[in-house]
Symmetry: C2
Subunit: 816 residues, 2 copies
């Protein structure tokens, strides 16, 4: 491609344009399906092997770089120092509100789940007790299974039929949002309502799920809503925080919301901040971090305050989080040097089990994508899982003969006696007949000897597969608590075994410690976070004594797990074919340059452009970049047009909607100018181009884009290496990066144009003129100037490359 | 300036250049002192009001953006995937080493200080006990003062005479380094040795200092040393880690080292990571963060391991950090809602006292800069402070009649009986006659009633001024522990007063809690960190119960303190006139564009350049950008040269040293090509240009810069707003940003050139030719092309603008 010199013909049309002195768009309408070409180049058959080998084209990007057009700059320049101070203060206010509301929602979920689960377990318990005496426990089983299925059905119906995006934990979606991908409907009010309702149903329905992941998503939705000062769904506009109605500001608040969610879920404000940063942010900004921290703090505070009132101990604020691991009594000799290798070994086990979990879930998800994609099927699957969970639990409890004496200060909420002697309870039931949060706490803190090894082993095994089956159902539910529970079970098992096999068993006195380590290992093995998870675990246990072992364990679990397969969230992101940008470009990608990765040719618009052209461009579905370089033609010269800005599809839509046409402006001078406010009002749900009616007369009008385009888009020369492009793109949160020609050898850049222009010209049967122009141009061959647009790099162009087994691989792009 | 159209004359010289087809440098040697012009524009008199209104030109920047020249790209492209994996593994190994060595150093400091301080206090104690009986305590005072002064003198001498950069805590210097400023000698081995020796002397010498700040600096030096695989000072090259010999990689390791230092000092691995990020990083990279975390972990681990051996409890690893705040017995009702306002009030007091501390220290520092800049004076001041500290302490102890009964498990290491009854000890002496770390612990944990309010009040007062006087002396010492001590004292005082004035005093039972809050407030008020400091405090106390109050207090202290004056470290950075880049551009700077802030004109080099020109350029002291845009002239055309790359002074120096001249290359083809290794070997101490001999013949040779220049430097158009430039600069860690012309109106960009060229041409008396060229050019007026270099933005151009009382202010640039 680079070495073919072709005759240039673009000025043939440019010269026809006349009055305005601006040529018609150069490359417009000639959008070549480049990616299909690449696919055919690679010689792949039509068959699509796996969903994760694709990159979906349906996801738009968010624009985390400010669009610095004239309107924006004017506004900023007009604003006084006090104005900026007020803005800063309102940012803090919004963060406070986000924290407060997130805390409230967490509180609501917690109380409702506790009440409903209490009723359910009470009913089932009474039933079991009744039938234990008279026989016929199968009726109890039926009751339990039906109750669970009914509740889960409710949760699954609202998710599957009303808001499928509310399924799962929501963490992958929030990760994508913070990464800069617009996942449709992910931060809407409806999603929040469904999410909250759904998570209550799934936890009460006895599924192997937690309510913590959904809290993070809820926090993000709250943030996106509050910061905009209006609700599009409810059609209410409070006319406040209008300044924050753009992607850049909204992203910052969503980070704060996610952090507030973590903070409420685990009572871990610092962990929340780190979660947001580890999973989302790329550019670390001190002030932003402090605001996120503030939101987290307020969130924990609110939750604690209301829960303390609910628990009739108003004002006691030291009880953190939705999940409370309880306090470990940290004596100063909590662990010893020789235990470190054991911890590391447990980390490795966690990594292995986590990888197994992920692989199983991966296959299951592929199966689901292929065969279980109809909502009613999804609901039925969820009900099936609920029934199976109840049945398995019941069977395990039924066949377990692990009876433990009921202590004076028994911590079990619903002790099941079943076939145990009086004054004893069934130990298996503390694990199964309970909300998962309570089970985790029992495993951490119950006295040594509370569980026998067989119980724990069986429990681990069954719960592992149940949790794996459950994640990915069409219910809103998190994976944190099930992972912790599995890990705590086998961790405690390890502790008990150690105490048994060593001669001096007393030094391994506390199996709860191993339960904690196991829980960390399992969770780390599944989700693969390290820094934030360490802090979350430390904050949730309320003790930094185990900080160092937890870190070691998480690190080991991550290294071991990464050897086999990615983290669970990343797997699900990949299966959605989302163009997710990782932290760095793939290691061996230095041989790629912007020229190779860019999309080219790209549709350019003239600074003063015909309305008809713009409408056609926007209506053309093959132009999927959503951003158009604006070029300007030097009047009177025969040089190619030069880049002078970048304009987004959404901006053009607003311009068309308000009919900001040059001719109209002349006729109605008194009318107000289009302001930034008009763009903000339309944000973020810009109407589709089809809904905008442009008459035939209007199509002949011209539009002046000067005021609205971003006049200083970031550009790179086409020789820039991929890692460099990637760094720029990632660090600045770009959406479009214009690739310009910086070479004085003209051959490269004109070859693309010339192909296009040649085609166009032949089609218009203007061959004669083309020949002439070509001759004229050839004489000017070495004078063609710089900063010509030669391509556009978007997120998809960068996300396409990844390191596979055979070195650098390129994902296919698809419309799915 | 922008509107003056001048005739252009640069091609007159370019045409003379002949063979290579490249013109001579355009603007070389014509570096106009732009900044002096600006100073005169502002009509300021010669008198320099304050040091912090200046921006020093003596500091170079570090290059945190990879120099992607052909050599680099070739190397990267050659490297296999396994190569990258090995690199990644060696990064982890280096981080492990950094952590290990930092932990060792911390351990060494801790043990030596403990031993020496033990001996000193024992000697003095025995002396005091002897003379308490016989009278003549003035001899004890003299002994104490002389001992202190002597030890401090030693510490001050090595700092003041051998390595002045080792003075103070080193945190401001590390902040600057991570910000991208090359502070000379800051990460050298000699600095480390002096720092370690100095901090031992100052702590043992009884100054109001801590050993924690210096640990951070030590960690950074270790990191910078280890990661380079050689010691320039010791002239040893281990031929390992050669890949890491550049600013980008080194910065990452220095972050890890600083984190390891914090981790060792406070037993706070997570706090260490956050410190590095909060104070240094701008681009958050997940893998990097994990490596930093790993280094921190290893550091705490090493310290704990060796200290556990030292304390004869090998293997007990739960004792964190150099400073051990002791464990708070966290019962579940540690604090209550109605205490929150009290905490906030204490935060406000901390902010006020912190601001007072900073203001006093600011005046003192200005005084020191003006009058105490000779090393011997500095040593004398340090000795004076040591003697005064001893005297004041002695006087306080002497006149105190606060006698407390000696408990059975008395925690005081050196209880002074003095005039107290038998079985009692002087309470004031626990605060003064002790290392500050121990005093803090006593204030946190001693039983209620151990101190009387008067003792605490007097102690706070005296220690406040002592600490303030001490910080900034020519000794290596930190401010963390003194701040904590002051805060703990008045915090405990608050606790006692609250218990006294309220009817039911029992609810304020634990003054230690208020001591902790006070300590946090005071430290926050002085250093103004929030997130990292919260985590550090939580990790150091080993209890997350007080996490929420500590956050609130730190946030309040920061807000209150920031209202009056900046943080202590920022003050010292400003007083050094360092071009420090903050997180964001000043709020009201949108009206500034790249055109206004850039340095212009800038010395450009041709791609194939005469050696003599390069030598002259480098020798010219007025060209202080250390980076030169490389331009290329289109042969045969009369257009101005176009940007094709950027080359650094250091690269040119290496090229000159190796005599990479085109003519020589032809004559000795067999000789090896210059490789990246040659640049790495010279890094980071590139020789000055004066040390490189270039003969008169060699001056006539040509140098081909193509391979060595960064072919894709980041560029911005001159209309880009300052915040946008700032963001790009900060997010990518740039050193030079080339401003290019993107306008088709040529007037702006040629005016600068034409001024220069006119001058040059007139000087060369080539007026005739110039006139002719000008005529030729005028006809081509509208054809002049783009991507011409019009200026260069460096760190100083951005750091110059800051928000003062009267809106945006511009700092003066000075050679100081």
């Amino acid at each position: 491609m680079a070495n073919i010199t072709k005759k240039v013909s673009w000025s043939s049309r440019a010269d026809e344009s006349g009055a305005a002195g601006e040529g018609t768009p150069l490359l417009n309408g000639s959008e070549q399906p480049r990616h299909s070409r690449q696919e055919s180049q690679r010689g792949r058959p039509k068959e699509i092997p796996h969903n994760e080998k694709l990159l979906s084209l349906k996801y738009e990007s968010l624009d985390y770089d400010n669009i610095e057009n004239q309107l924006f700059l004017e506004e900023e320049r007009k604003m006084s120092y006090m104005g900026f101070r007020c803005l800063e203060i309102s940012r803090w206010v919004v963060c406070g509100l986000i924290g407060f509301l997130t805390g409230l929602i967490a509180c609501f979920i917690d109380i409702v789940v506790e009440q409903l689960a209490g009723i359910k377990y009470q009913v089932v318990k009474e039933n079991i007790e009744k039938f234990t005496e008279v026989g016929g426990l199968s009726i109890s089983l039926l009751l339990w299974a039906v109750l669970n299925s009914a509740i889960v059905m409710l949760g699954a119906i609202i998710v599957a039929f009303f808001e499928p995006i509310a399924a799962g934990s929501g963490i992958p979606q929030i990760k994508c949002y913070l990464n800069g991908i617009k996942i449709p409907r992910v931060v809407r009010l409806k999603t929040l309502v469904v999410k909250v309702g759904g998570v209550i149903c799934s936890v009460v329905g006895g599924l192997a799920v937690g309510k913590e992941g959904p809290m993070i998503h809820s926090g993000a939705v709250v943030a996106a809503g509050v910061s905009q000062g209006r609700s599009t769904s409810l059609k209410r506009d409070f006319k406040i925080f209008e300044y924050f109605r753009r992607d850049t500001e909204k992203r910052d608040f969503v980070s704060a919301g996610a952090a507030a969610g973590v903070s409420a879920a685990f009572g871990a404000p610092v962990g929340g901040v780190l979660f947001s940063l580890e999973e989302g942010a790329s550019f670390w900004n001190q002030m932003l971090t402090w605001r996120i921290f503030f939101a987290s703090m307020i969130s924990t505070f609110t939750l604690n305050f209301f829960l303390s009132i609910y628990h009739n101990k108003p004002g006691e604020l030291s009880n953190p989080g939705l999940i409370n691991f309880g306090r470990f009594q940290g004596d100063s000799v909590a662990y010893n040097l020789y235990e470190i290798p054991l911890f590391i070994a447990m980390g490795a086990i966690g990594g292995l089990l986590g990888a197994l979990f992920n692989v199983l879930n991966y296959w299951l998800t592929i199966f689901r994508i292929r065969y279980v994609h109809r909502p009613c099927l999804q609901v039925m699957e969820a009900m099936l899982v609920a029934a199976v969970t109840a049945t398995v639990s019941f069977t395990m409890i039924y066949f377990s003969n692990d009876c433990q004496p009921l202590g004076p200060e028994h911590t079990e909420e619903y002790p099941l006696q079943l076939f145990c002697a009086d004054g004893e309870y069934n130990s298996m039931a503390t694990a199964f007949f309970n909300t998962p949060e309570r089970s985790v706490r029992s495993l951490f803190h119950n006295q040594p000897g509370t569980y026998n090894p067989l119980t724990l082993g069986l429990f681990t095994l069954t719960y592992f597969f149940l949790a794996c089956w459950t994640y990915g159902l069409a219910v809103s539910a998190g994976v944190f608590i099930p992972s912790l529970l599995i890990g705590a079970a086998w961790g405690r098992l390890c502790g008990i075994l150690l105490a048994t096999i060593t001669p001096d068993g007393s030094i391994w006195a506390d199996p709860g410690k191993y339960a904690l380590i196991g829980a960390a290992a399992q969770l780390g093995g599944i989700v693969r976070m390290t820094l934030s998870l360490t802090v979350i675990m430390v904050e949730a246990t309320g003790n930094v004594t185990y900080g160092l072992p937890i870190m070691l364990v998480l690190m080991t679990a991550k290294i071991v797990g990464d050897y086999f397969v990615e983290g669970l969230y990343d797997i699900h992101i990949k299966l959605q074919s989302v163009p997710f940008l990782h932290w760095e470009a793939p290691a061996t990608s230095h041989w790629l340059t912007a020229r190779e990765v860019m999309s080219s040719p790209v549709t350019c618009l003239n600074r003063i452009e015909k309305v008809g052209t713009i409408v056609d461009t926007l209506s053309n579905t093959s132009t999927n970049h959503n951003g158009f370089p604006v070029v300007v033609k030097v009047s009177g010269s025969d040089e190619p047009p030069k880049l002078c800005g970048l304009i987004l599809r959404s901006q053009l839509i607003v311009l068309l909607k308000h009919k900001v046409f040059v001719e109209l402006a002349r006729s109605r001078l008194t009318q107000r100018k289009l302001q930034l406010k008009d763009f903000r009002d339309a944000y973020p749900r810009f109407p589709p181009i089809q809904s905008i009616h442009v008459s035939q007369d209007e199509r002949e009008c011209m539009m002046d884009l000067t005021e609205f385009m971003n006049a200083t888009p970031y550009t790179v020369p086409q020789e820039t290496s991929l890692p460099r492009v990637f760094k720029l793109f990632r660090a600045l949160g770009l959406r479009h990066l214009v690739v310009v020609d910086d070479e004085n050898r003209v051959r490269v850049c004109v070859s693309v144009y010339s192909c296009m222009s040649l085609m166009i010209t032949f089609l218009s049967l203007n061959a004669m003129m083309m020949m002439m122009t070509a001759v004229v141009l050839t004489s000017h061959f070495w004078f063609v100037t710089l900063l010509q647009v030669v391509g556009l790099v978007t997120r998809k162009d960068l996300a396409r490359y990844h390191l596979g087994k055979h070195g650098l691989e390129e994902l296919q792009l698809a419309q799915t």
